[in-house]
């Protein structure tokens, strides 16, 4: 006869082991990058332009460029994503058109990022004549994170109990009032979390900005949204593969800055979620 406690323990061991394995790559990445990159971090590295063919100096234009791109992407993607999420989860009837739209969103999320880059090149850079610019890059990144924002927002809206809507409507509130005063405030933390995670992704992607905005080397800061800009992920690619004899610590330093930026955004998302969950009233 089998001992049920023993099988229980074996099961527990493997489940725990599998979970533990997740920590290892994350831990290794963070440790290696901090160890190799930290010596490069100083005030000059963060505030100076690249010098000596990007082998010395700082990475300020890349940091600023990434911040511009992320901000531009969010200005474009959040309103459109949120409004369409509200439409889809609160108003859309379950018909052919709605199903096609939902299918499109799922597919949009599955498109490889380099395809977004080509698409951005064709539409924004060439056809709309924005040139390789912050505008083109932001719009391309915005389209890339749209499905993330729509999906997260829809889920957040749908997680608000249906009974709240019924109560509100039964009191004579209109559908829009119900959405605006009951559904939206309670979905906000989920929407914000999804948005920030989308931003983190936009900050780290190289392919969509490759043809639409990223400059190989640009010693001054961009002055308008029609200027090209450097960006952290592309800069990292350039100094790792295209420029010979770049000191290892410069490369890892750049990676550390990018990683910190993305992890910081995730941290903000976690804090928001935690705070709202604590105040959650149902």
């Amino acid at each position: 006869m089998k001992n049920p406690y023993r099988t229980q323990n074996i099961a527990f061991f493997f489940l725990f082991l599998a979970t533990l394995l997740i920590i290892i790559p994350v831990g290794l990445i963070v440790v290696v990058i901090i160890q190799k990159g930290l010596p490069a971090i100083n005030w000059q590295f963060l505030s100076d332009i690249p010098r000596q063919g990007m082998r010395a100096g700082g990475i300020l234009p890349a940091i600023i460029g990434t911040l511009y791109l992320v901000t531009g992407a969010i200005i474009f993607a959040l309103p459109i994503g949120l409004l369409s999420a509200i439409y889809l989860s609160e108003y859309a009837k379950d018909n052919m058109l709605t199903r096609i739209i939902k299918l499109a969103i799922v597919n949009l999320a599955g498109v490889p990022s380099v395809v977004y880059g080509l698409f951005g090149l064709a539409l924004f850079v060439v056809f709309l004549k924005f040139g390789a610019s912050i505008l083109s890059g932001s719009l391309t990144l915005g389209i890339m994170i749209l499905p993330v924002i729509i999906t997260a927002s829809s889920e957040a809206l749908e997680s608000v109990p249906y009974s709240f809507r019924e109560v509100s409507l039964s009191l004579g509130a209109s559908k829009w009032q119900t959405t605006r005063h009951i559904v939206l405030p309670n979905a906000l933390p989920g929407i914000l979390t999804g948005t920030i995670l989308g931003l983190g992704r936009a900050a780290g992607e190289t392919a969509p900005i490759l043809f639409t905005v990223a400059a190989f080397y640009l010693p001054q800061l961009p002055k308008s949204i029609f200027d090209q800009a450097m960006a952290l992920p592309y800069h990292l690619y350039v100094i790792s593969t295209q420029v010979p004899n770049v000191d290892e610590k410069v490369r890892y330093g750049t990676a550390l800055v990018l990683l910190t930026l993305v992890l910081f955004m995730n941290l903000v998302a976690i804090i928001i979620r935690y705070k709202f969950r604590k105040n959650k009233k149902w």
């Binding site: 009837k93 009974s163 019924e166 109560v167 409507l169 004579g172 509130a173």
Partner: protein
């Protein structure tokens, strides 16, 4: 006076025929209890009156429901729902403070003056016998109240809008006997001003508070009469069987 007139009402949800050929009248200032086993169409009937069934995408209705001679489908839906309040089976406070819960309907109808809102909130909470228990904690979350208090809060929230009719959908199903007694007491007092339709799974509750009682079975209205008559000498033997607990 006749408040509601229902002619040949049929309701479908997709292929399910939920209400079949219902004809009845509901009087002003009465408590009409509706009893019947699960899936007999009681709640569907109730939700027809304030058009909450319309939220269901595959809902279909024939026949007519008139409130004071006017077809409910001809009235602006927000106006109709202001006239016909509803208290749900479970206490469902909105995720807001006690004060905001009670004032919600009024605010949605455009009332902005704080003074006026405060007056109305107090009045509604008084009517629901909750004022004394919450008057010093109006800013607290409604979820901090006990189940019975939450249900009286929901009644107050419905009253604050100033309805003519209140629909109760098994309002005591989640409450203990003492809270139930308080809600019933509130209902009996409320009928002086309002028309009340009470759906209940508790036959004794129907006997206690209903002026008239309707018995639904499988989507049909089997019998509607004065409560004492239904409970002593029902016309239909199925009614008798249900009341005696033979089925359902």
């Amino acid at each position: 006076m006749v408040k509601f007139k229902i002619h040949d009402l049929n309701i479908w949800f997709g292929s399910i025929h939920a209400l079949k050929q219902v004809n009845m009248e509901i009087q002003s200032n009465e408590i009409l209890s509706i009893i019947g086993p699960a899936n007999s169409g009681k709640t569907t009937f109730l939700r027809t009156l304030n058009r909450l069934n319309d939220l269901n995408t595959n809902f279909k209705m024939t026949g007519a429901v008139e409130i004071e001679g006017e077809d409910i489908r001809g009235i602006n839906i927000e106006v109709l729902r202001r006239k016909i309040g509803m208290v749900f089976a479970l206490p469902l406070p909105l995720p807001l403070s006690i004060f905001e819960n009670v004032s919600y309907g009024l605010r949605m109808h455009g009332e902005r003056k704080k003074k006026k809102l405060e007056e109305k909130v107090e009045e509604a909470l008084q009517q629901a016998y909750l004022w004394e228990e919450v008057k010093n904690r109006l800013e607290e979350s409604a979820f901090k109240l006990s189940g019975g208090q939450q249900q009286r809060l929901c009644i107050a929230r419905t009253l604050a809008v100033g309805p003519e009719v209140i629909l109760f959908d098994e309002p005591c199903s989640g409450l203990d006997p003492i809270s139930t007694a308080k809600v019933e007491e509130a209902m009996v007092k409320l009928k002086q001003k309002y028309t009340i339709v009470l759906v209940t799974n508790n036959v004794k509750q129907a006997a206690r508070v209903g002026d008239r009682t309707a018995f639904f079975l499988n989507g049909e209205l089997i019998e509607l009469d004065r409560t004492d008559k239904i409970f002593t000498a029902p016309f239909d033997k199925r009614t008798d069987g249900y009341i005696r607990g033979k089925f359902g």
